[in-house]
């Protein structure tokens, strides 16, 4: 998307009149454009005022239902800053830190399989994801691997054969060259499966079905990702 296109989306974005892909792209842009963030903040408050007009007393049963449900509903803690999660090299300390950091990142991150964002998410998908991470982190056969990323940053993997799942955390990545993005791969024999794109900074990706995987790889690809990894990889983590 060109710079002109992106800025023009501000109104539609604030009105929720964009699709998920456009929303993701614009949210990514907001993270790197201070002026846009200010404008979106103001236009967002403006759009909220539109909700002043419709007004309808809900049925009494709704009040009962809501109060009943909240009495059974756990609340989340305050948000934790998520950029650049530090990954110490000792596995045990990493697990404790990562459990807290991952919970915060998961709570903030979106559910899309191909996007890495800090944004609001559907409640159920979020809870499922948080549960999966917790089970993974506490699985008796959980293993931890880490590797440096060429030009900066780290990729870490917690994997469990019994959970058949891995959590891949990237942190401290250098900005990709203009027009490029990092892409994550799971490799088994000759089969390379793309599992996510990372713009910059940090992110957490859950990967299912890693039981037979040999390797998690990170490559630099043109923006939007590729069907096959561009070699050489900027990082790889051997799983076997």
């Amino acid at each position: 998307m060109t710079a002109i296109d992106i800025h023009a989306l501000a109104g539609a974005y604030v009105l929720n009149a964009v699709d998920d892909i456009e929303r993701a792209a614009f949210a990514r842009h907001l993270a790197e454009c201070e002026a846009c963030a200010v404008e979106v903040g103001e236009l967002s408050e403006t759009a909220v005022r539109l909700s002043d007009l419709p007004w309808q007393q809900p049925p009494a049963r709704l009040r009962e239902a809501v109060l009943a449900e909240i009495s059974q509903t756990r609340q989340v803690g305050p948000a934790v800053a998520s950029r650049g999660v530090a990954v110490p090299s000792q596995p045990r300390r990493w697990r404790m830190m990562a459990a807290a950091a991952a919970a915060a990142l998961v709570a903030a991150a979106g559910a899309g399989t191909a996007t890495w964002l800090v944004q609001e998410n559907r409640v159920r998908a979020e809870q499922v994801r948080a549960d999966r991470i917790e089970r993974l982190m506490t699985a008796p056969d959980a293993q931890f691997r880490t590797a440096a990323v060429a030009q900066g940053g780290n990729v870490s993997v917690v994997l469990s054969q019994s959970e058949n799942r891995a959590m891949v955390t990237l942190s401290g990545l250098a900005d990709p060259p203009s027009g490029k993005t990092y892409e994550l791969w799971v490799i088994h024999d000759d089969v390379q499966t793309a599992v996510g794109l990372v713009g910059k900074g940090s992110g957490v990706q859950l990967v299912d079905g890693i039981a037979d995987a040999d390797l998690v790889g990170v490559t630099l690809e043109p923006a939007g990702g590729s069907a096959r990894p561009s070699l050489p990889m900027v990082s790889s983590v051997v799983l076997a």
Binding site: A8, G11, A12, V48, R49, D52, L62, R63, V76, A79
Partner: protein, 206 residues
């Protein structure tokens, strides 16, 4: 579509106002930190404060009253669940709540309707104009009068683009189709219209 509010009987102590203008009554900003610490009574107060406006908005976007109840419940439970994430630095408590509400309503509209339903909704939207429909149902509170006036100060295309999107839950592409306008034009009208509303309402952040 004229929507008569159901059950005009008010709970004791609560007025028709969704946002209190009497000093001494708690605001969303004051209630949310208490709610974040698990204060269910504070949440009940917030419910009485915002539920008619939340339900009104969601009802307007979804039209189906049963779904509107469901989504309203989801939104208010989400407010409870994530109250600790509300950060006064980033805006008002009311704005936070209604941002969640609108997003949920639009997500539900987009996901729950079969494409044939959606086309029918779009066709219906060209007949009943969302702006007039919403304005007629509103009562004469100061905030509402202000929003009505500022919406009235937009060009017709700006107003229609914004109201079709906000109250109709339409994407900008759908709005472009409905209004027979080009995509860049609709994007621009939405943005310019909101900027004009912002200036008219005197909104500043931070």
């Amino acid at each position: 579509m004229r929507s008569e509010p159901e059950g005009r009987a008010k709970p004791p102590g609560a007025g028709l106002r969704a946002v209190p203008d009497r000093p001494g009554e708690p605001t969303a900003d004051e209630l949310l930190p208490r709610i974040a610490r698990g204060d269910e009574a504070a949440f009940a107060t917030l419910y009485d404060l915002v539920a008619p406006r939340v339900f009104g908005l969601i009802r307007r976007v979804l039209r189906d009253p049963a779904q509107a109840e469901e989504v309203t419940q989801e939104v208010l439970v989400e407010v409870w669940r994530t109250a600790a994430r509300f950060d006064t630095v980033k805006g008002s408590g009311t704005a936070w709540i209604f941002t969640i509400a609108h997003r949920r309503a639009v997500d539900r509209v987009r996901s729950s309707q079969a494409s044939s339903d959606r086309e029918r909704r779009v066709a219906v939207s060209t007949v009943d104009t969302p702006y007039d429909d919403v304005v007629e149902a509103a009562t004469a509170r100061v905030e509402q009068q202000q929003v009505r006036r500022c919406l009235g100060g937009l060009t017709e295309l700006q107003r229609e683009a914004i109201t079709l999107a906000y109250y109709g839950g339409h994407s900008y592409r759908e709005v472009a189709e409905l209004l027979g306008a080009a995509l860049p034009t609709i994007k621009t009208r939405m943005r310019d219209g909101l900027i004009r509303m912002r200036d008219c309402l005197g909104v500043t952040v931070g």
